[in-house]
């Protein structure tokens, strides 16, 4: 499952980030393999918004599709 397929309101653990540039950029923002993020919002055929602690980031569709995740259910 990739990040673009995660339903809003649920959390997901990032398993791998397939693009080097995206991986480096996100690492600097504190998001990397193993991080758990909450999917805040998903725009149809558009970006997803994820939250990790007090950081909210908007990720374009292509970015989200390059991030493989596993589900950790809803709630903390």
């Amino acid at each position: 499952m990739n990040l673009a397929e995660v339903p809003p309101g649920t959390k997901a653990r990032i398993e791998s980030i397939l693009d080097v540039a995206i991986r480096e950029h996100l690492l600097r923002l504190g998001i990397t393999e193993g991080s758990v993020v909450e999917l805040v919002q998903r725009v149809a055929r558009g970006p997803v918004v994820v939250r990790k602690s007090s950081l909210e980031i908007s990720l374009g569709k292509r970015v989200a599709e390059h991030i493989l995740v596993s589900s950790v259910g809803d709630g903390p």
Binding site: R28, L29, G30, V43, G60, K61
Partner: protein, 599 residues
């Protein structure tokens, strides 16, 4: 941001310098303004500071830098910050107190440089409201530099910080970082290498350091959800966000279109300037001069009459109102959320959602917005954004005249004008996306916390931008009025009108005097729009005229910026392109509407 240049690119030669460094949107520019008592443009979205600016304090300079996440990545901003840090005597590392984690990576890279430093946790009030508890002593120990807390927007903690900076600058002794805080040697040597695997392991090591530090420093981090978070979700959920965006846009134009463009301007332009100021000037000038000189100074296009009336009576109130509303939009942090919603639409035009920011700002000032296109990462995205700004985004001054001109015509003509400009915007955007080679960049955009706008900053910003506008526009309008008056008294204007008749009357269906407005449009689009102001136009002619003048060539200030960003070829391309699209669209609209409306 400093788009009309009192910021110099490099620090002054012999003075000692302090450089403010931090992530985007941590409040460096507000701190800079407070520390130097000099205004720089600040907003609540990442990327407001697009180049270095400096201010003098006592015997040293303070340098403001664009926000970066690290020192070692590629990119113009990183390069300029790296240079500024290298040349500086001291670094002030600014962190967002509500999100220390985000800033620590850069803090580590700054520590690696071995520069003397002060660490500032800004937005301290918000961090406390969120219930964050930070061990400042521990942080001080780990980063090896004094830590201060500030609320820059309300000038809290600034004096202490200023004193500390002054004291540090006065002392010649170098601060030694405690051994505990020194990053490992491996980290130091690999941070700038381009070798992929070792670079990645260095990055992982840095990340681990950030997490370790965070664990030691952040004592409490409650799960905090305030009203701002609820509002934020409303803004980015398409079902609620799209109507909200349209509502905000509508409210902006309604407010300005009715209160300012009609009621206020009726008083400033109609009463103060046309009934009091102009007659006074005419009688005064008439006493000493007559003939052509009178015509140039106080005639129909007189530099003392028309120019002053347009700028102070008509444009000043409208431009200021626009800038206030823009500043509110910027400072709340709404624009990055709008970028999220707009990403899909902008993708169809070869850009990512971030491009919505320069486009929206273009409604304030296209010149400033053209500089703001630097927040876009790819050349293709910037070219498209600059072209669309030059073509289809009317700046506040131009919008002002258009609002006044179309005000009496009613909703249908409004919708017609807006709809056609929007259609041109989307069509040309889509075409450019296909014609210009390259790819759009991926959207990875931080959403800043929503904040209530600080009126102090909003008014300061609007005042500053309005002042820059008036300062730049006066000489141009004077020049334009002078040229038009000279053409008029020499009889050349009549000849030009005759020569342009096939285009202006035949193709666009405007009265022959419309040529004057177009000639004025070469000076500035808003000047050109103003040229239509006192012509007797049918509603259809007004719409066609406004469409042509909206799509017309950008103002001279914009052209100069485009020259800087894209070179001479870019300028010539933009000029030909905007003129072509303007006349083509105007002619087609005239023909189609005349068939339907019988005008």
């Amino acid at each position: 941001m400093n788009w009309h240049g009192h910021g110099k690119p490099s620090p002054s030669m012999k003075l000692k310098s302090v450089v403010l460094v931090g992530n985007p949107n941590t409040g460096k520019s507000v701190l800079f303004s407070e520390l130097t008592r000099q205004f720089t443009d600040v907003s609540n979205y990442p990327g407001t500071t697009l180049r270095l600016s400096e201010g003098h304090v006592e015997d040293y300079v303070i340098i403001d830098t664009p926000g970066v996440y690290g020192l070692h990545s590629e990119g113009e901003d990183e390069e300029s910050v790296r240079g500024a840090v290298g040349a500086a005597d001291m670094v002030v590392n600014v962190l967002d107190a509500t999100n220390i984690e985000r800033g620590l990576w850069l803090s580590l890279e700054l520590m690696e440089t071995g520069k003397r430093a002060i660490t500032v946790l800004n937005m301290w009030d918000e961090a406390q409201a969120m219930g964050l508890v930070v061990d400042l002593a521990k942080l001080q120990e780990i980063v090896g530099s004094p830590v201060f807390t500030t609320v820059a927007t309300r000038a809290v903690g600034i004096e202490e910080l200023a004193r500390a900076i002054a004291a540090e600058m006065a002392s010649t002794e170098r601060m030694e970082a405690s051994p505990l805080s020194q990053p490992s040697a491996a980290l130091l040597t690999t941070s700038a290498t381009s070798d992929q695997p070792s670079r990645w392991s260095a990055a992982i090591a840095k990340r681990r350091w950030v997490e370790d530090t965070l664990k030691q420093v952040l004592i409490e981090r409650p799960e905090y959800r305030g009203p701002a978070d609820v509002l934020s979700e409303i803004m980015i959920r398409p079902v609620t966000g799209v109507p909200l965006a349209l509502g905000i846009l509508g409210a902006v134009f309604y407010l300005i279109g009715t209160f300012v463009a009609q009621d206020l301007v009726e008083f400033t332009e109609g009463v103060i300037f046309q009934q009091v100021y102009e007659p006074a000037v005419r009688s005064l000038v008439g006493r000493v001069l007559s003939g052509p000189l009178y015509e140039i100074l106080a005639g129909e296009f007189g530099v003392l009459t028309m120019t002053v009336t347009y700028i102070l009576g008509l444009l000043l109130p409208l431009v200021f109102a626009f800038y206030v509303l823009m500043a509110v939009l910027e400072d709340t942090g709404y624009l990055p959320r709008l970028a999220t919603l707009a990403d899909r639409t902008f993708s169809a035009m070869g850009m990512n959602g971030k491009a919505v920011i320069p486009i929206v700002l273009g409604f304030g000032c296209v010149t400033m917005a053209t500089i703001t296109t630097r927040i876009l990462n790819k050349g293709k995205e910037r070219t498209i954004a600059i072209a669309l700004l030059a073509l289809a985004v009317p700046c506040s001054a131009q919008m002002a005249v258009i609002l006044v001109l179309l005000a009496g015509l009613g909703f249908v003509y409004w919708a017609l004008y807006g709809g056609i400009i929007l259609a041109v915007f989307l069509t040309i955007g889509g075409l450019l996306s296909r014609l210009i080679p390259g790819e759009k960049s991926d959207l990875i955009f931080e959403l800043p916390r929503l904040r209530l706008p600080q009126w102090r900053n909003v008014l300061r910003k609007a005042r500053f931008r309005t002042w820059v506008f008036i300062r730049d526009v006066f000489p141009l309008f004077f020049l334009g009025a002078l040229i038009i008056s000279l053409l008029l008294v020499s009889g050349a204007l009549a000849a030009l009108q005759d020569g342009l008749r096939p285009l202006v009357s035949g193709w666009l269906g405007l009265p022959a005097e419309g040529a004057t407005a177009l000639i004025m449009g070469f000076v500035r689009r808003d000047f050109g729009a103003a040229g239509f102001f006192h012509m007797a136009l049918t509603p259809l002619q007004a719409v066609v005229g406004m469409i042509v003048i909206t799509l017309f060539i950008p103002c001279i200030a914009s052209i100069m910026v485009i020259h800087k960003e894209m070179g001479l070829k870019g300028v010539l391309g933009i000029l030909g392109f905007t003129l072509g699209v303007a006349f083509l669209t105007g002619g087609i609209v005239h023909r189609v509407l005349a068939t339907f409306l019988g005008g």
